[in-house]
Amino acid sequence: MIKNTKKAQKNNILSLEDVSISYGKFEAVKNIFCNFKKGDITSLIGPSGCGKSTVLRSLNRMNDLIPNCSLKGTVLFDGTNIYDKRVDPVEVRRRIGMVFQQPNPFPKSIYENIAFGARINGFVGDIDDLVELSLKKAALWDECKDKLNDSGYSLSGGQQQRLCIARTIAIEPEIILMDEPCSALDPISTLKIEETMHELKKNYTIIIVTHNMQQALRVSDMTAFFNAIEYEDGDGGKVGYLAEFNSTKKIFSSPKEKTTQEYISGKFG
């Protein structure tokens, strides 16, 4: 039994242990236990406001940037609690990259968008090569190889998002977090990004928040369904929790929870 968990832990690159996150007095999510396996793509799904983004941001300490956001519990990355006092959040973010819901390229050239992160991460190789490689991995190379010096803003929304993905993979994080990366995109760009994810899966662990059930089904190995319930004291506020976590196949074919069933079949959310 003990051996078993040890073995399981070895595969777990990231685990949440009894994590609760609050914004000031308001508790957004409560008592999350969850293990992310190395090399997997995991989807976080659930109705709006249940705290998916909150949990995702907590995985690389982006929550630190939000005033009065606080976390209880442990987030283990490679066996270290990233919320330990001695941990440097900047290093955490170097090893766990993030792609945001809205594409947010730097107001710099396409080339610089990628080079910036690489440089600050102490990249010593040939930056030209890195730019090309990253853009290729993000399936953007063909579309922008002739205009690397144009501003990142000159790209379309979908291209900008892929630029942001390229920027993230350029720093070679071990985990990539994506918060609804396709929500602002058209179906074609979405497909391209999904292809990119399949490609990335070989080398990276990916955790993605999505509202698109089809997407979760298409790209992910594991799925975590989050839900929110009213506070017990019933003053109308809601607190998020992890309702069900299983392989994507199981979640979509035979969910254990009734709410999961209702959510994936579109009854609410």
Partner: protein, 315 residues
């Protein structure tokens, strides 16, 4: 992938980078506290320098108008009265003019381009140095109003404010140049406040058949009132502390007079005039006067800020 990772030689943040980060933050922190330090420094310095005069004359300083370095008698009543009089009277003239102008350029009486030109012109004028206004007041405004002042005295001489023969430089001229100075401030703040009134309020009023000016008076102005008030208070602070233009035109006399047509004094102009040459207990008395001016403008400013805060919560 493994071999590529090797290219990130210095992925770890070394101590030095972490330290730069900390130093950077703390430097910024120290720099931002400079504001507080300077502010505190100003209050303390002025207070301690005025201490000697304060302990000698006490509050009597505020209500007597003797200012005699030879006899060592000091009272700043004339200057305090002049400060309050010129700033309040100039505001009294500026408010209707400024608010009227602001209404004109926020309503659609004339094409937008025209309104914008008027608006930015008025704002540009706020940039003209007050010493230049003073120069203009001496050489242009004073001759221009000379005959009018004589007329004022001849026909309204029974009224205390016009009871003396007009002199070349006097309080009324100071008030008029202050109006020119304050107009841009009041106008632009009033315009901003009027622009911030939600459109739906206006439409609601038009919707129930109110005419334009009925709407302006009963809906728009009340909604913009606290913003305009804050602007007026800021202008009041400026008027009380304004030095150059006033010093150059007010005549600088410590002899108290009810009449606006005779020379007057303000605290700021008294400082500008005497500070350079003062010594002994005169210096301390000047600091006392400066302290009074500082308190006056602090109170007005803090009150204005309080209003702004209250105002910004509303929308």
């Amino acid at each position: 992938m493994e071999e590529k990772l090797a290219l990130f030689k210095n992925r770890k943040r070394f101590g030095i980078e972490k330290n730069i980060d900390i130093i950077f933050k703390n430097t910024a922190l120290v720099l931002s506290s400079f504001v507080a330090i300077i502010l505190l420094g100003i209050v303390l310095v002025v207070f301690f320098q005025s201490f000697e005069s304060f302990s000698r004359y006490g509050l009597k300083f505020l209500v007597t108008s003797e200012w005699n370095p030879v006899k060592d008698e000091y009272g700043a009543f004339t200057a305090i009265y002049g400060t309050l009089l010129t700033s309040f009277l100039s505001l009294l003239i500026t408010i209707p003019l400024g608010v009227g102008t602001a209404i004109f350029i926020t309503e659609d009486f004339v094409p937008k381009l025209f309104r914008e030109i008027i608006g930015s012109f008025v704002e540009l004028l706020a940039a003209i140095p007050s010493v230049v206004l003073g120069l203009w007041a001496i050489f242009v405004m004073e001759p221009f109003f000379r005959a009018f002042f004589v007329f004022l005295h001849n026909f309204f001489g029974w009224f205390p404010l016009f009871s003396t023969e007009p002199t070349g430089r006097n309080s009324l001229l100071a008030i008029l140049i202050l109006v020119v100075m304050l107009l841009p401030i009041v106008t632009s703040i009033a315009r901003d406040s009027l622009n911030q009134v939600p459109k739906k309020l206006r439409n609601a009023s038009y919707g129930i058949g109110a005419s334009r000016w009925k709407t302006i008076f009963s809906v728009i102005l009340p909604a913009a009132l606290s913003g305009i008030m804050a602007g007026v208070l800021l202008a009041l602070g400026r008027a009380m502390g304004e030095t150059m233009a006033v010093t150059m035109i007010i005549g600088n006399s410590n002899a108290f007079s009810w009449s606006l047509l005779s020379p007057g004094y303000t605290i700021a102009s008294m400082l500008a005039n005497q500070f350079g040459e003062a010594d002994g207990s005169q210096v301390s008395s000047l600091f006392y006067a400066a302290f009074v001016l500082m308190i006056l403008s602090l109170v007005v400013n803090i009150f204005a800020q309080w209003l702004v805060k209250k105002f910004s919560l509303k929308y």
